[in-house]
Symmetry: C2
Subunit: 265 residues, 2 copies
Amino acid sequence: MPREITAYSNPLVKRVRNLREKRHRREEGLFLAEGLRILAEAQEAGHLPQWIFYAADSAGHPLVRRLVAATEKAGGEAIETTRDILHKLSGKDNPQTVLGVYRQFDTSLARIDRAAAGIWIVAQSLRDPGNLGTILRTGDAVGAGGLILVDDCVDPFSVEAVRATMGALFTQRIAQARWEDFLPWLRAGPGQLVGTSLKATGSYRAPRYEAPTFLLVGNEAQGLPEAYEAECDLLVKIPMLGKADSLNAAVATAVIAYEVLGQRS
Amino acid sequence: MPREITAYSNPLVKRVRNLREKRHRREEGLFLAEGLRILAEAQEAGHLPQWIFYAADSAGHPLVRRLVAATEKAGGEAIETTRDILHKLSGKDNPQTVLGVYRQFDTSLARIDRAAAGIWIVAQSLRDPGNLGTILRTGDAVGAGGLILVDDCVDPFSVEAVRATMGALFTQRIAQARWEDFLPWLRAGPGQLVGTSLKATGSYRAPRYEAPTFLLVGNEAQGLPEAYEAECDLLVKIPMLGKADSLNAAVATAVIAYEVLGQRS
């Protein structure tokens, strides 16, 4: 039976609103996802929210009804509320009509089964939530197993990142690790570590990529640290014919990931 | 001799600040670009600002001095100002130390010389300034001649778009046109119009692309209208192995543009 909340001062409203801050997300182990489409994709991938908030005027929508029923059946709580409160929770001027509060996934490396896919994407100190989202969507498209975030990356559970993944957050596996932990994990099994570097001599189209390929992309502004490049099994370069000296990080990832995929099909 | 402006109420400050709105940009025929790096790239590409604003404490920076001298020599005006006013002009919490006000380029199709490059990118109803910037950077990297914006695209002279191009705005040719005008222009000369479509049967890796290739990408949410697809000489598909049904528009552009480039080198 859905609960109704219409007061800004409601403690749950405050608690959920706080999830827009990383500190609170970490303390609670929760995060926000907005929009019917993302929540439906989450459900399809087996994820149901702890709480689902929806605007009273969308209670009759069949997808909302289905999500509410599934959430309650799984022990979560459904909350009928106002557009104003959804606005307050999401921080957006035109909030989506549904919003879910999810438990964060376990992002330890131990949960990655490298044999499950022929491509994995590894991002180092990736800072932009839009890039994280775009890279996850690209990973989904090329059949990657998931995304391994190395060192100080943007929080994949931030509202902006979740939004940018457009649902891929729930379908792609995500891990977080320090480089010192990632490297021994990688070397404990099969895997070709491929770095993108302006210093590389060979084009990304020349080599044969070996599965599982771990495609390593560096920070948006700095690229990969030299010490990390030195650990790669292969360094490849994307030709740059113009004046600029770098591509967008998500674009660079996609160009190489699609070359790997193209070689295999 | 640089003028000094320290008052918020200065009419030029108001006028420049207004350039963050499209209406004022169109009326004035001007736009804003921020940051030493972008202004230096603009200069290299032959563009100097009408006004250059810089923070008094960065007046001694050699690049700032060079830009100021070149701007004044070309008939523009240099204005020494405060960080607070730069903040007010840029709308950013941490404003860059220099900001230039440039005359908008002529973006008519007539100025496009299709023979100048083997690839041109054509974006239809592209709405996101970040995508526009990323696509321009990609165009620069693959040696494209420029970007043709068809129908209602984001304003390439908006502060967000200029920022996202990271200087490529000044090195890539940009045109704006309605589809009804673009199509006859295209057909009046050589050119292969290649559309990306989920309905296409062939992979983007299969065909031989003919120069000049006009790579047509659709709106972020809707893709290309059917009538536009019907006008293409070739429709290609990027394989999508996952759950999601679309790639980011800039990613899709880059994947195909690099295939075209790869075939030619």
